[in-house]
Amino acid sequence: MIVRTPPTSPPLSRPARPPVLLVALSVLLVLFLVLPTAALLARGLTPTLLPTLASPAVLDALRVSLVTTLTTLALTVALGTPVAFLLARYRFPGSTVLDTLLDLPVVLPPVVAGVGLLLTFGRTGLLGAPLELAGISVAFSPLAVVLAQLFTSAPFYVRAAKAGFLAVDRDVEAAALTDGASRWAAFWLVTWPLAFPFLLEGLVLCWARALGEFGATILFAGSLQGQTRTVTLAIYSALESDLAPALVLSTVMVVVAFGLLLTVRLLASRHPSS
């Protein structure tokens, strides 16, 4: 027989001590998650960091990653924002299916995405012949890197943006419209600024995913220093010849990842609904 005490407000003096087992198990997982990062930083943050950072292999990888991911972000915003807005505002036949389809790349293994991209944009792929006629060759080019990132990362932005547009109070929009604003002006002056924290959060998540992209890239874009060898591909390649660039790039990625995470946290704390 269990005697239930009526719920009281938590005591202000001393909180109840959590069970030892729970604490032990939590510590185990936390250690497991933190140790590899710590080991990485311990090996990476050495006096040789800066000279290695200036080596061509490292600089090329950082440049390729920066250029391709920023292009991916621009394309994501340009193409993802309208889709997110439509999905948030309108019900149309097949909108649920479209919603699900847009989430598919999130759960699809990246290497499968790479195979799909090859079968679509490759020379012998679905669009291979027309692209060839137009003089566009996609595979093994920086464009292929961008497409691989776009496929795997854009859904993260679309999801966040859709949530942002759903969170905007429709009455505020309606008020702007009755005050004589055009629909475009209402969007530009009211909806977009209100949804902005969500959009930014989605953008940061999308960027993190694009930076980490590996499987689709190596299959669809190949690996060539200064052209398609992104940071992740450069780490993979350097691990097998010269460890120093791999460690430096890994350290850079840890710092960037932490920065992105911090940004998302700060953004999330700014809008109360999530």
Partner: protein
Amino acid sequence: MTPPPLKSALGALLLCALSVSSVAGAERLTVFAAASLTDAFSELGRAFDARTGHTTTFQFAGSQTLRTQLQNGARADVFASANSAQFTPLVQAGLIGPGQNFVRNRLTVIAPKNSPRVGTLADLVRPGLKLVIADAAVPAGEYTRRMLAAIDRAGTYGPDFSALFLKNVVSQEPNVRQVALKVQLGEADAAVVYSTDVTPALKESVRVVPLPSRFNQTAAYPIGVVDRAGSPQAARSFVQYVLSAQGQKIMRKWGFLSPQ
């Protein structure tokens, strides 16, 4: 004359005894092998398992990947590399016993079967062509660069053949099978792989571009038992089997040359 039931019972007992005896000495064996050995070693492994009752599992990857893994404490019993550059450092570090060469291999240039772009070696440096080779750390990539140096030295195709060739390279892959795949898919106009990589499966979609033998390189494959092997007995017998007449016959079938 023993009655039939007894006969079959005896037979069953005998079968049991046989299978038990083979299981008694059965060990699990892990072999790290160069990607180019994929087909040959898979068949050889099945034959070896059937003979000895051991269970052999393979990990095929670029030799440089396997070396890195072994240096970082990966557990394996046997290592077979496609060059000594990825093998000798492990011997020097005391991680692996002395190696012995068990096969040799040669390079070949392949192109997609239905693409007319590449007919001869000279076509490889035409501007706008897409070539794929293995990364410099991969044995196949190292042999490819030696081949290019040999062509430059000969001067037959001009003094800057390798510079123009490398300008056409659109990807440097982490193992030789990935290189072959890019031609098989028709994405690359030509690639440098081993002659053994033109397997029956690949023959349907690629053709071989003639490579004068004076430019070709000979790859020597060392094999050795890992020092802290979990199954040293089985590891040694695997190496012996690879060097034996039956093992060598399977290697020849897949196009590998004798070690000497």
